[in-house]
């Protein structure tokens, strides 16, 4: 669009309106008979759309000009002139005379006592002074084109979605990508922030240059600077050779700083210097290094809050937050779930060499009712789990039974594996991947509890120690249902509560393991943490047990009958 010149006064006197002359201004005035609207003034870039020059059409009735845009302007002009209500942000899409798709944003309002310019060609048919409609036009063809293009593609640089929220993201990627400005991508965990960063890189002129990603939470504070800026040989203990940092590796390309809210404060100051001047020094180095790197950052925290509590430098925040993209959580992406499910099932079909596996509408409904705190990542993992567990082509609602139970448990508070295990065993599962060393009784549908004595089958090539994944072909019920929708039930023994450990058992285990707690725990069949808990309850110190001989059996002072029983089965030292 052409630049806007300064407004100029076209009329004067107490009854005349001050009309600014902008290059985006179209002025329509009614004829003396109020029958038609004449074009009093039109900028060249607008007249081009109807294949004419301003000189050719100024003074002409707008209705006499062919073209969609002329028709739209006439309609807007007539409405505003008739009822005096201004119009704002009215977007008209049309095809110009050269066949190009265009879009224009229109704002229109009526003015009274508009005075025609002295050289106006409308003077012949319009009153010298009277009402007029001023239309401000803004060419938005480019942004509308980008939005339409993004909407037409369900997949955008690996990002899947058709929801309005994701279309906004795609649009911003299109607009921000080609710039060199830093972009902060925010969003909950699992929403695909790194994919957005990669898409920004792909849309930039740096697409053929390196894209280097750093996770700010994955590196310790000590290592961070060295990893980011590199180090010289001998800079610290263990620095046996000089090392190029991520900044140098990303030179002329893009550096993606994931979870930037967790970046150590000391590093933030150095990062600011690179952003401001493109200069840094390696750890232990004396020479300044120059780099040309575009910074993209992602965070699942509020950077504003981090600034407020002085965890994040405000100057760095302002330098980084030039452009922002917020990736919406899955629960806010209306209509995207089926598209994502389809996408992931396609990937899984390819990976596992199966064809046409799909979710039943009921299953899809179940998924759409969930709030997905883990977002797309959680959806992908859940789908892979049920995909692997379901041998048939249709994955039904019941395939998600165990997942539903687990997620409800998780939502209810606390992740306690022991309790979960008990709950799993107690609740009637539709199907549960079996442990190979446990006996199961599987009842099939329609056969009054038909038993399937055959072992559960495994996929070819699978690890024999892994869980069986499929029901045996010959073991299906009379209806031949093989999907998870079939009403199979699995009964499994309740897990045995481990017997309490006594002092003597613990001492012996430590002695046999030569004081190694991990080995001792393993020999007792408990987790190391469990062993420590028992030790604490018995007032035993690890130092006392390390290398200590086992306590003599009956005189150890243990009065617990259960403990004595346990000891009876153990070999005497």
């Amino acid at each position: 669009m052409a630049d806007r010149p300064e407004p100029t006064e076209l009329s004067s006197g107490p009854t005349h309106h001050l009309v600014p002359s902008f290059s985006d201004l179209v002025v329509l005035v009614p004829t003396r008979e109020d029958l038609l609207l004449l074009i009093e003034r039109i900028p060249p870039w607008v007249s081009e759309w109807v294949g004419k020059t301003p000189r050719e059409i100024e003074g002409q009735p707008i209705s006499a000009i062919a073209g969609e845009i002329a028709e739209a302007l006439a309609a807007v002009g007539e409405d505003v002139l008739a009822d005096g209500r201004p119009i704002e942000d009215y977007c008209v899409e049309f095809t110009d005379t050269t066949g190009r798709d265009r879009a224009v944003m229109i704002a229109a309002h009526r003015v009274e006592n508009y005075r025609l310019a002295p050289a106006s060609r409308a003077r012949e048919r319009a009153n010298e002074s009277g009402p007029a409609v001023l239309l401000h036009l803004q060419d938005v063809s480019q942004s509308v084109h980008l939005r339409r293009r993004a909407a037409g593609v369900g997949s955008f640089h690996g990002l899947i979605g058709r929801s309005q929220a994701m279309l906004e993201v795609f649009y911003k990627i299109e607009v921000y990508g080609p710039t060199d400005a830093p972009v902060v991508v925010s969003g909950e965990t699992g929403t695909g922030k790194e994919l957005v960063a990669r898409a920004l890189h792909e849309r930039s002129p740096r697409r053929d240059r390196p894209f280097v990603a750093v996770n700010c939470t994955a590196l310790s504070e000590d290592l961070f600077e060295s990893e980011l800026f590199g180090h010289e040989r001998g800079a610290f203990t263990g620095a046996v050779r000089s090392h190029k940092g991520r900044f140098e590796r990303a030179n002329t390309g893009t550096l993606f700083l994931d979870e930037i809210g967790d970046m150590p404060q000391r590093t933030q100051a150095k990062l600011l210097r690179v952003l401001e001047q493109g200069i840094f020094e390696r750890v232990g180095g004396e020479r300044e290094e120059h780099v040309n790197v575009r910074i993209l950052a992602a965070t699942n925290l509020s950077l504003e809050q981090a600034v407020a509590v002085h965890r994040f430098r405000s100057d760095l925040y302002h330098r980084l937050s030039v452009l922002r993209i917020h990736v919406p959580p899955l629960r806010e992406r209306e209509g995207d779930l089926p598209v994502l499910v389809e996408h992931f099932l396609e990937i899984l079909n390819e990976r596992y060499g199966r064809k046409g596996v799909r979710l039943t509408p009921d299953a899809l409904r179940l998924l759409s009712e969930y709030h997905w705190p883990g977002n797309v990542r959680e959806l992908r993992n859940v789908l892979e789990r049920v995909y692997v567990e379901t041998p048939g082509q249709a994955i039904g609602r019941n395939a998600f039974t165990e997942w539903v139970r687990e997620r409800d448990y998780l939502t209810a508070g606390g992740w306690n594996l022991e309790r979960l295990e008990t709950q799993r065993a107690a609740a009637p599962a539709i199907i549960t991947p079996a442990r190979p060393d446990q006996e199961y009784r599987i009842s099939g549908p329609g056969a009054g509890g038909q038993d399937f004595p055959q072992p559960l089958t495994r996929y070819p090539g699978s690890d024999p120690r892994s869980f069986p994944l499929a029901l045996p072909h010959g073991a299906l019920g009379p209806e031949g249902r093989r999907t998870m929708d079939a009403a199979y039930s699995v009964e499994r023994p309740l897990p045995q509560k481990p017997k309490p450990l006594c002092e003597e058992t613990i001492r012996r285990a430590f002695a046999e393991a030569h004081g190694n707690a991990t080995q001792a725990a393993r020999s007792l069949g408990v987790h190391k943490a469990t062993l420590y808990r028992h030790m604490k309850a018995l007032g035993l110190q690890r130092e006392d047990l390390a290398g200590a001989p086992a306590a003599p059996t009956p005189t150890s002072g243990v009065t617990d009958a259960e403990s004595s029983e346990t000891n009876d089965h153990e070999p005497k030292p």
């Binding site: 309609a75 007539e78 704002e88 009215y90 977007c91 899409e93 049309f94 906004e168």
Partner: protein, 104 residues
Amino acid sequence: MSEEIEQLIRSHAGTVVVHLTEPILHGDPETEGIAAELGQWGTDISVVHAVFSLHRDWARKYRVHGTPCTLVFRAGELRLRAKGRYGRGQLHALLEQAGLLEPL
């Protein structure tokens, strides 16, 4: 598809509000909120949310060439045409002023 809108306008005894929008361009929360509320503003209002690009020819008949736009019909006749972006209060006031929120 547009025939269905036309049929509704002709058959509905009360007010028919046709909210034309282009979701790609105007998918902001306020516009969506207003569109969702329209039906609750009057006792006898029937609301149609239509994607402009799917009803372009039909809309042209009512001299609508862009979005967003709200057309209000009563007894089969066009009574109000509000082009461009309107705030919640503005649109409500407009409909009220035109007496379009009252039952026939």
